[in-house]
Symmetry: none
Subunit: 225 residues, 2 copies
DNA sequence: CAATTTTATTAATTGAATGTTAAATGCGAT
DNA sequence: ATCGCATTTAACATTCAATTAATAAAATTG
């Protein structure tokens, strides 16, 4: 099994922090995505499905705690590790951060090595969790190469099919409503007479096997196994 | 829900710290074991298999880092969460702690609420991994997966049955009138000659067992565990 | 205890949601 | 522009949840 790169998202308005994080974590084999706007970071994360998000708690447009809560309420992102990295060292701020579901709260300024150690400790736990064999069920997506793996087979999918697959697989067994699917994969509102989701589901079932995507009539679809 | 108690081991020479930890974590549903000697703590832990060990890094007889390394090299304890709780705030000490496999490094002194938040964040991650829903007994709905759990059984229900079940289970033992049921699940006014609720009740009883939904003649239905 | 009302049960019917295929359209690369 | 593929639309088929219908059983009432 090709070990997947760890995906890290950083959200911070200060570009010097981007540089700090890049440098501190350079020895991790990770793919990093940098954002200055929390809104954009959150939106892009829905598709990136990062393993770890590092962000400041203080942002001009959207509070980090809100962003954190958003992550936790999204089925496909609720397992994402979240670490706050901020100058805010007030008790209530830390407590609010942890209450919102944060996994660590690191104070600025911070030595690169300490920062690296903490992040590595987080990821170490995470890996234990994801390497747990019961979680790995044959089918996985490789966003970097834009393919879906099924055992040793590599399945090439067109964009929409890939995004749809990616969404469903992001929260196995969760039922995604047609609305959810449409807004996540296509964006915007769906008109009811639209059979385009069905057609894409059909093609996915053709390619990955008929038994993986179950339909829940009147609600939507869910991915299994 | 029968949830297994979290097992916590504290190793600290200072008895006031024992008290601090006991107080700070009292709202966790945990079973705590206190030790002043790291040797004893380590030995007893081999039998206890705690979920979390909190310890000072500085001990007269054995260094915390060594203890930590011991845990990590023991097959049965390598999944145990380890948090250092210490006054040693030198960089090299923290780094050594994390290198030895620690999951968090909390500095003394520390506010009880912050301490609690950090420990809870650790356990939150951990529980995701270990909490197995198999132990659950009773009936509950899982709207995300659109299933009803009965013990370890997962019951699939069509939409209306699911919504009806969801309504009844939302207020166990409350009697729902037919009118209430109709307006909540179907919407609008019910016409009296309508037997559709009865049929749905029948199907639910078939699927979740005959004894959970009681008829209150002339009024409606109520759900009991 | 009959008469009446209410609920139970089963089977048949209906209908909306989804499945399926093919054709039309869009769209990027050359 | 044109080719090749991705995506959407359209038309028709199928499925299965939801309802209705019909009959039986149980509870309530006088």
């Amino acid at each position: 099994m090709t070990r997947q790169k760890i995906k890290i998202v950083l959200i911070d308005e200060d570009l010097r922090i981007h540089e700090f994080v890049r440098q501190s974590l350079r020895s991790l084999n990770s793919e990093m995505h940098f954002f200055t706007s929390p809104k954009e970071g959150l939106e892009r994360s829905r598709h990136l499905s990062p393993n770890l998000v590092i962000m400041d708690i203080l942002n001009s447009e959207m509070d980090g705690v809100e962003v954190c809560a958003e992550f936790r309420s999204s089925a496909s992102l609720k397992d994402t590790l979240i670490a706050f990295f901020t100058t805010r060292n007030e008790d209530y701020s830390q407590i609010a951060g942890f209450n919102a579901g944060a996994d660590d709260y690191i104070l600025k300024p911070c030595r690169p090595l300490i920062f690296y150690s903490r992040i590595r400790a987080l990821l170490r736990r995470f890996k234990l969790r994801t390497e747990n064999p019961e979680r790995f069920h044959g089918i996985a997506i490789d966003r970097e190469r834009y393919i879906v793996r099924k055992g040793s087979e590599e399945i090439l999918l067109p964009r929409k099919e890939f995004e749809l697959m990616s969404l469903l697989i992001g929260a196995p067994r969760k039922v995604f409503t047609r609305k959810e699917i449409y807004s996540e994969v296509w964006g915007g509102e769906m008109d009811l007479s639209n059979r385009t989701i069905d057609v894409h589901i059909r093609k996915l079932r053709e390619k990955i096997g008929e038994n993986h995507i179950k339909t829940v009539k009147g609600i939507g679809y869910r991915f299994e196994r």
